[in-house]
Amino acid sequence: MAGVTLNKVVKDYGKLEVIHGIDLEVHSGEFLVLVGPSGCGKSTLLRMIAGLEEISDGTIAIGDRIVNDLPAARRNLSMVFQSYALYPHMSVRKNLAFGLSNLKMPKDEIERRVSEAARVLQINELMDRKPRQLSGGQKQRVAIGRAIVREPELFLFDEPLSNLDAELRVQMRVELAGLYNRLGTTMIYVTHDQVEAMTMATRIVVLSKGYIEQVGTPHELYTRPQNTFVATFIGSPKMNMIEAVVRGGTVSVPDFGDIALGGGAPDGKITVGVRPEQFEIGSSGPITTQSEVTLVEYLGSEMYVHTRLPSGRIVMVKDAGKAEHKIGDKLPLSLIPEHAHYFDADNRRLPIFDA
């Protein structure tokens, strides 16, 4: 097991800089998820750690060894690719053994590790098949098997589940989490799916356009997003963002009314963020408004109600599945100031009510 330390890591392709000096400490034994929208540089960062992409500037250390000039093969890590990248002309068994035989490992040790992986991943009966004879989920297992036989210090995953259908994705997510619990090896996992990130990570790194927006546990990211990007990226459905104006320590939230912020915010523009479950239905809260339901998404145990405020703005509100809402219903809403998030004009979190 090893941690990974990124120090001012930069990646450019000629004139185009895509990673802008990233500092990051990956703790030994943690499951770190890199998440962010498409094109933000997740894969690039992972591939630099893997040794598949040159590091333009800065250093990357695995354990306490700087690996900038170390070829991928000697970094003692395994990687699972989005495309699986199984060798199409080799049987599953050969796919698993290929890396080990390159390392000149004794035959019986290779045999032992391969059959152990086959047992763990329940791919015993697939061992003599070629990749083209496998389903997507089975290919994924083989790809993971190829990673674990190496018994590396570090696992890298680049969107390993994104080619699977929804049901299988959930199942593999559970299996990967189980694998992590059993092996306890450091894992760095790239995804653009924030649900995957939230459910599997010990810590999440949110990336955007080659910068780190925030690093933290899933709970920290959800309850204390440090900027509007993280606030809207983490959590599904998205946080409702309402622009408002502060004057003399008081924010006037359109449709709802005034909240005294107690000097935590300078005068000017502000964004008030409210997650769908943070609205209260009814008019018992400190500031309230009337709204009209425009759409209901019923999910069984819960429902998401799209509702129009008097100003015409539509917000999303979560309610229990047993509630009854119909399009056109009147819906009174309350906003609890302590439950809301506040962001300044530069989209950074204001630490109001955070204590």
Partner: protein, 297 residues
């Protein structure tokens, strides 16, 4: 019937030029030559049926026939692997380097277009003459070049080099094949600690096998049929000492120097059968070394 014609009639009309060409210029002569191979025919007098006499003579008494077979086989076995290896090498360099630049690829293809022509064969003769460019270049290093073309020990090799020089079309096919191998397989292999040679032998070659096979069959047939270069460089006779007596050159001489059309036809059929046998061997062996990506089973 009417419906059928209405529906497909136009298709058959479009087919006629090809059909006329095929029947008149290919199938007709092929069948005619099969008939002629059982005759004696000097173009002036009507063909005279001789049964299997041409074939009997060929296999029992004709030493030049065996000589021409020997020259042709030597050429095929030397030039085809050399050309394929060279073409693959160039394709790999191009695949890595100057990727998108079409002009380079056109440039590499040029010899293949020119190579088959008489002009280039003549140029080749100049290059490898005893006082040609090649020997002049060797002379710069103090090496006295041999008589490439008139020494029977070397003459065949100049033709092998001429053949290799026409690597363009197998190279392009290799290049397309290399492009079709997903890059992430190499990345996975990189992480799997496979050295570059190991990547070549364990990944590139097996995944390229269908393309290698295709090129092999095509080039083999091409090599068996080689004519222009050998004809021009040997002055049309297979000289020196019959060392360039390619099967096709011998056949040409029989037909158009000695007007033994019947015998030439028999030679042509023997060549056809030889090519068919080797192609069949290649196809049969491919089961054991060619892996097709999308095949079931």
């Amino acid at each position: 019937m009417r419906d059928y014609l209405q529906k497909y009639g136009a298709g058959y009309v479009f087919l006629t030029p090809w059909a006329i060409g095929f029947l008149g210029l290919a199938l007709g002569p092929i069948l005619a030559s099969l008939y002629l191979s059982f005759t004696q025919y000097d173009i002036i007098n009507a063909p005279e049926w001789v049964g299997l006499e041409n074939y009997e003579y060929m296999f029992s008494f004709d030493t030049r026939f065996y000589k021409s077979l020997q020259v042709t086989f030597a050429f095929v076995f030397l030039s085809v692997p050399a050309k394929l290896i060279f073409a693959l090498g160039v394709a790999m360099v191009l695949d890595k380097g100057i990727r998108a630049i079409g002009i380079y690829r056109a440039l590499f293809y040029l010899p293949s277009i020119l190579g088959g022509s008489i002009a280039v064969a003549i140029l080749w003769r100049q290059l490898f003459n005893q006082d040609g460019v090649v020997n002049a270049a060797l002379g710069l290093f103090g090496i006295e070049g041999p008589y490439w073309l008139s020494d029977p020990r070397y003459s065949l090799y100049t033709l092998v080099v001429l053949a290799v020089w026409q690597f363009g079309s197998p190279m392009l096919i290799f290049l397309a094949g290399l492009r079709a191998i997903p890059q992430d397989l190499y990345e996975a292999a990189e992480i799997d600690a496979a050295s570059k040679p190991r990547q070549f032998f364990a990944i590139t070659l097996p995944l390229l096998a269908p393309v290698i096979f295709f090129n092999l069959v095509l080039q083999m047939i091409e090599a068996f049929k080689t004519f222009t270069g050998a004809f021009v460089i040997s002055g049309g006779t297979g000289a020196p000492l019959d060392s360039l007596l390619f099967f096709t050159v011998y056949l040409y001489n029989e037909a158009f120097s000695f007007f033994r059309m019947g015998y030439a036809s028999a030679l042509a059929w023997v060549l056809l059968i030889i090519i068919a046998i080797f192609t069949a061997i290649a196809f049969y062996s491919s089961r054991y070394w060619v892996h097709y990506e999308n095949e079931r089973g």
